[in-house]
Structure formats: structure tokens, C-alpha cells
Amino acid sequence: MKKLFIDVPALINSGAAVDQIKCEYLFHRKNNGAFSLLEVAQFASYCRQCTESFCVSACPVEALERQETGTIKRHNMRCVGCKSCVLACPFGTIFPEVINYVTCQCDLCLNQLEQDPDYVPLCVKTAPAQTFAMKELTEEDPQQHIYFSGKHLAIKSPNWRHKEGKS
Amino acid sequence: MGWYNKRLAKSIWVFHLSASPCNNCDIEILDLLTPKYDLERFGIKLVGSVRHADVILLSGIINQKVAPKVTHLYSQAPKPVFVVGVGTCPAGGCCFNDSYNKVPCREDVIPIDMYIPGCPPKPEAMIEGVVKLVEVLNG
């Protein structure tokens, strides 16, 4: 099964603005699924998951919460997009672009893929070269910094969880 | 015309023109006529026909469908006539700025002389607005 693959460092290095990436999510106009993908990436692997979790204590509306797994979760009904957490994180692991008041959604274009397994989503077409791709990946590849999140998403990014040997 | 302006300032007949508002400004305008605020004290009267109007109280964001009618109506009012935009809607579009059905520029549809912002403006604010208009008229 093909997975959506995101090369986060390459995306950061390319200097391209995230909102340039187009998305074909049906329900929201101006929706940019890349935001939500990046948010997933950021909290799943980019975040250092520091024990102090400065971001959580900095949030004025208690929108951030540490899950049992150690990852941070942002509750979108509470977050007001003030970006205090961005400032608070000592490691600068929160991308300011994606912590928005209005959250976006990515359904990974599953509906389209169901009908046509070779379908290429719009984000892949419009993102800077190689940063987004549909790839046939079977397992995580820590050497390449490729990690999976869920069944359909693969992320290439530094992953502190693995580095620090957390499960 | 100074003398005439004074007469006008003392006898303002308003026509209430609702161009896709949320209704609240409209009822607050009506509220102005009722015992608590009683605009008739200032000689202000609500009229039903635009032919009798001195001031048009415009509320709402003016949607595409109503826009030509608003323009038409303005052209039918006997001049001099002033247009007062009541509420945030005519002033800034309120929360409807994302709407596909609102006109791009309200001032193109009807020349608005004065805005009374607020959502809805308090009756006191409206009275103040009217008083300001009177001051302008008194010159």
C-alpha cells in the first residue's frame, strides 16, 4: 500500500511557505491539509518530548496536554492560536505556521486512493520537489529517519523518541 | 440655507432600509421610537415611504440581490437625503465578510454619509449619532 511520505527537513530547507501547498480536501475551502500533516509530524516525532514540557505550562488556555504515550496533544477546541507554546518550547520544535486557531484537516485523500491506487494527491503535486510523495513503504526506516504515523502516513524527520530510546 | 438646515435638523423623518442585516439593528431602531428613548422628542419620525424621507437608516451588509434595489431606492428619495449606516454591518461587514453574497463595496451601492458602529449599536449610540448629524446640519 502506498503511503504519503513527507520529508520534513527537506521542506524546511526548501524555504517554501507551507501555505503554498495546495490541498484537495473536499469539505473546507482554503483548507490546507499540509498544516495538519505537519502538526502530526511535529508532535509525533519532531518534538523532543521533554519532561518539563514547557509548552504545556505556557499555554494560557490549557490546550496542550501530555498524553500517556508521552506525546503532546493539542486540543483544537481550546487552542486560540496565540503561539505562546512556540515561544516557550526551548527546542524550537513547534512550527509556528501550523499552530493555528483554525485547524485544517487532511484525509490523506483516501477516497480518491480507494478508487485509483495510483492517485497522486494535490499536495504531492504542488509541494516543493520530493518533499511530499506517494511511496510504497513497508516498514519504518530509522536509518533514513523515516517513521510511520498511522497506516497511511510516513514522515521523514529527526525523531527524539527513538534517539532517546523511548518506546 | 442655514435657516432651512435648522428646520431640517428639527424635523428628521427617517426611512428604515434594511439590506440584509441580522434584524437586530432594525429592532433597535424601532426601539428608539418607543417610550424609553422616544426619538419623537427630537422631531424624528419613522416614515413608510422613501419619498418622505430625510434620512435613510441603512442596516445590513447589502447582499447582491438587494443591492440594485437599494440603489434604486436611494435614487427615489427626494434630495437632500442623508444615509446613516447603522451597525457594524454597513461599517465593516461584521462577521459576514466571508460571504459570497455581499457586495464588494457598500459605498458604491449607496453613498453613506455617516456610520454608527456597534453590533447592534446601543440606542444611546444611535441617538448620539443622530445628534451628531443634527450638529452637522446646524453647521
Binding site: - | S49, V70, S75, Q76, K79
Partner: protein, 606 residues
Amino acid sequence: MEVNVVLIYLAAIPFVIALLNILLPPVMQKILTLLGLIYLLRLTVLLYSGVAENFILFGETVFSVDRLGLFVFTFIQVLSFIIFIFSLQGLDKRIEKKFLILYPMTVSFCNGVVLSEHVFSFLIFWGLSGLALYLFCMLGLTKGTPQTAKKTFILIGGSDAFLILGMVSIWFLKPGSSWSLIDLHIPLTGELSVVAFICLVIAAFAKAGGFPFHTWVPDFSQDAPIESAAFLPASLDKLLGIYLLARIMTQLFEVTVTVNLVIITLGAMTVIFAVMMAMIQHSGRKLLGYHAVSQVGYMIMGVGSGGALAFAGGLFHMINHTIYKSNLFLTLGSVEKQTGTSDLENLGGLGKKMPVTFIMAMIGAFAISGIPPFNGFFSKWMIYQGLLELAGSMSKVQQVWLLVCLILAVFGSALTLASFLKFLHSIYLGKRPAKYDHIKETKPNQWLSTGLLSALCVVFGLFAVSIPLKRLIYPVTMELGYPLPDFLGDYNPQLLFLMFALAFIAGFIIYLFTKNVRYDQNYLGGMPALEKYRVAGTEFYNEIRNMKPLKAIFDAAGKKYFDIYDLGTRFTFSVSGLFQRGHPGQLQLYLLYIMAGVLIFILLVH
């Protein structure tokens, strides 16, 4: 001897013209008739200088002219002249020739009626004038024409029979007297005299269109050519009918107060019923037709009341009515000629396109609804006063009775106003259908004739006392033995008009100084003034029509339950088919009937 010729000329000239017209082409017909009518006018003026004596044939006075006759006669000439001006242009080509033959002939017959002193000539001319009515009606081009013509003929012919019956009875009452119709003064005692009275009154009512013998008038106005509607039921027949009534009330019989009251009541009923019917009409012609009936009510009230003021008012109202009603018919004719219809619901907004006609119609409408200072008001005012004057000398019950009649009559003029506003609104005001955007004003002759009539309306209204009353009507009433009337209230039209003008100017000057005009579309709450947004005006009075007790009456009237003709036919149809076979609607047959009747009577009498 030369003098006598004048009288016979009056009836003979138009007749001769009619005969000549049969041969001539239309243009010549018109010229000839016009010249003839002018000559008649000139002869009329001659009559006023007192030159006419009686016209005697076989030793009997056939024609004579007294003030009453002269008065009526004058207006016959004036109106036939003015209406003829209207007919000079714009007649339907299909009927033009026949119309031009019939026209002078009718004038001749009517003249004959008014001039006759002798019973026979009176009867003959009366019958012939009724025949003229029928023939005019046959000229109509609508679907209903034959039916209407038949109806007219039967009602008028039937009333002729009553007339003959009445005359015969009179002869039995006063066998000694000659065949003259003047100064009989039969007291209303005994059954025969009452029968005679009733018969004659029926004849007069039927001719003038009084309730309940009025039903031919609206139908006639609907179907006959509009000029003839203006000519006959609106003016000449009114003149003749009321002329007869006046004769009956003053010269033929001596009536009591009760009879007066009955006549007044009939008058009031005529006013109210007809005007109510008029209000709900959808056709302009019918509306006018019903008004031609309703106004008769006032004349009946005036002439039949027996008081000097009311009598003078009744006569005055009679001529006023002929003036404004023919005016109204003619303006409607102009509209119809331009637009092709007289249906109120299809018309509208013509006031801007036909301003002259509109003004004339407005004057006519105001006059008929008794708006001061037009003539209608003055005569109505006189009648009201006359009635009040009478009331002063009556018993209490009679007073209440009379007052109710009076109030109904006053109210009738409000109703008249109502239906005329509907009339004006539907034709001249309101929204104009787009198809009439290119309508033009009518031809000059048409507005000239309506203009003349309107001018008469104004002049007779403003100078009522000095011109028509003093010059024309008072001599008549004096000759008939009434004293010079004495007004109860005061009404000074000239003063009021001047004052009105002053106030109007005062207001208007302010406007002129402050005006700052801009032209714009209709304001309809932001909608453009589309054609579908219009009120035709025909349903103006639906509420009244649908009111509880009135609805039943109107519905019944709609089913013709009050139509004496319809009732009659229904009755006869149900009784036997005999009569049905007897009137197949052929003119010759009816003529035969009449001739036979007349013959029989003549034989009987001699």
C-alpha cells in the same frame, strides 16, 4: 300662415334631410345634416321671439309650443347639434350611412313629440321615437345587439301601449275636451284616473329610464353605437320622458301629497338602485348607462314633488344631465375610438395621453356627482331644498319618509361620485398598460363637442341663476303656475369660485417659489414599476358588493331578478309559448302590432 310653417318645419326639415340622406354619400350627408341642424337652431332662436302660433290641421291643433315645450325643444336642438359635431368624424364605416340617416330622423321625431299638442300626433311621434331607439340599437356591432334591441323595443313598445291606454282613459275621463294635451288638470279621484295616471307615469318612466323600467338603458348603452347612447338614452329620451312626466304632474293631473311622496320614493329608489349597480360594473358603457338611470331619479324627485323649487330643480337637473351625461358618453366614445375598448379593466392611465378628453371627462364626472361649482350640484341642491321646503309643511310621518328619501338621494350622489372615481381611475388614471403607449389625443371635432358640453357644465354651474334659471326655467315654472322659487340656503357659486381660486393661488404660489422638481419612476418599495403591478379599478367596490345584505341583492340583480323585461319574458315563457311565437324579433311584426293597436284605438274612439 307663414308662422305656422315654422312649427311644421321643425319636425319636417330633419325628416326631409333624413330622406335625402338615403341617397347621398356620407360626406354630403354630414354637410347636409349639419346645415340642417344649424338651421334648426336658428329657428329655435326665432321661436323665442314669440313668432310661433299653433299649427292647425283638419281643424285640430296638432302642433303648438308653450314654454315647457320650447325649453325642452331648445335642448333637443342644442344637444343634437353638439353630438352631431362629435359624429362628424370617427363613425364606424360599417354603420356610418345608416347612422346619418337615422340621426336627423330621430331629431325630427323628438321635435314632433315636444311640439305636439294633439294626442294623436303625440302618440305617433312618441312611438316613432321609440322606433328610432330600436333602429339605433340595431346599428350596434356587438354580440348582444339583437337581444338588446329586442329588449329595448319591447320595453319601450310596451310602455307605448300603456301610454295609449292612459290617453284613452283620459279621453274617457274628459270626453268633452278636445284632443289637446294642455291644461287638463284631472283630479286623481276614481279608479280610472288612477289607472290613467299610472299608465302615463309608466310610459314616462320607461322613456326616461326610471325604476323599474330602466333595464333597457344599460343594455342599450352597452351595445348600441356610443354616439347614439349619448344621443338617445343620455339626452333626448331623458328630455322626452321627463317632459312627459312634467306634463303629467302639472297639466294633466292634479296630484295629492301622497302621490308626490310615492313618486319621490320611486325617484329615490331609482337613484340608489341604479347607482349601486353602476358601482360594480366592469364596462364603462354600462356604468354610464346605469348612471343615466340613476340621475333620472333626481329629476323624478324634483319634477314629481310638486314644489316650485324642486320642480325647477328637476327641470334644471334634466338639462344638466343631458349635458354632462352626453359629455361623459362622448368622452368614453373618444377613448373607445382610440383604444378599441370600453372595458374598464383593460384601460388605464390614459390621462396623460388624452389630456383634453380627460379634463372633459373629469368635468363631466364632477358635474354628475354634484361637486360644486359644476351644474350638477346646483340642480341637486335645488331639488334637496325643494324637498326640505315641502317637508316643512307635512305631517311627521311624511316628514321622516321624505327626509329618508332625501338622505338617500344625497347619499346617492356620494355613490355616484364613488362610481365615477372608479370610472376616472380605470380609464384615465392608474397604471397604463404598455399597449396604450402610443395612443393619441382624439380628433378635434370630438373634443370640440365634448368641450362645448363641458363649457356648458361650467357655465350652468357658475351662472346658474343668471343664465339657465332666470332665462329658461323660471318662465316655464311660472307658466305652469308655480311661484318664483325661494332658496332656503345660500349658495353663491361665483363668490365661492373666486374665493377658491384665491386660496388655490395662495397655495400654489408657495409651491412655485419652493418647487424643485425631479421626475422619477413609481415607488414600489424598490421594485421597478412593472406592468403587472396595476390595479384596474374594476374591483374597487368589491367590499360593498360582498356586504351581507347587499350581496344577495347584487347577486339577484346579476341574475336579472329585478329586470322587468326578464321577469316578463320568464313569466310569459312559463305560461305559454304563444307569445314566444308572437315575437320572433322581426321589426316588421312589431310595427304591425303597433299599427294595429293604434288603428283599433282610433276606431274605438271615433
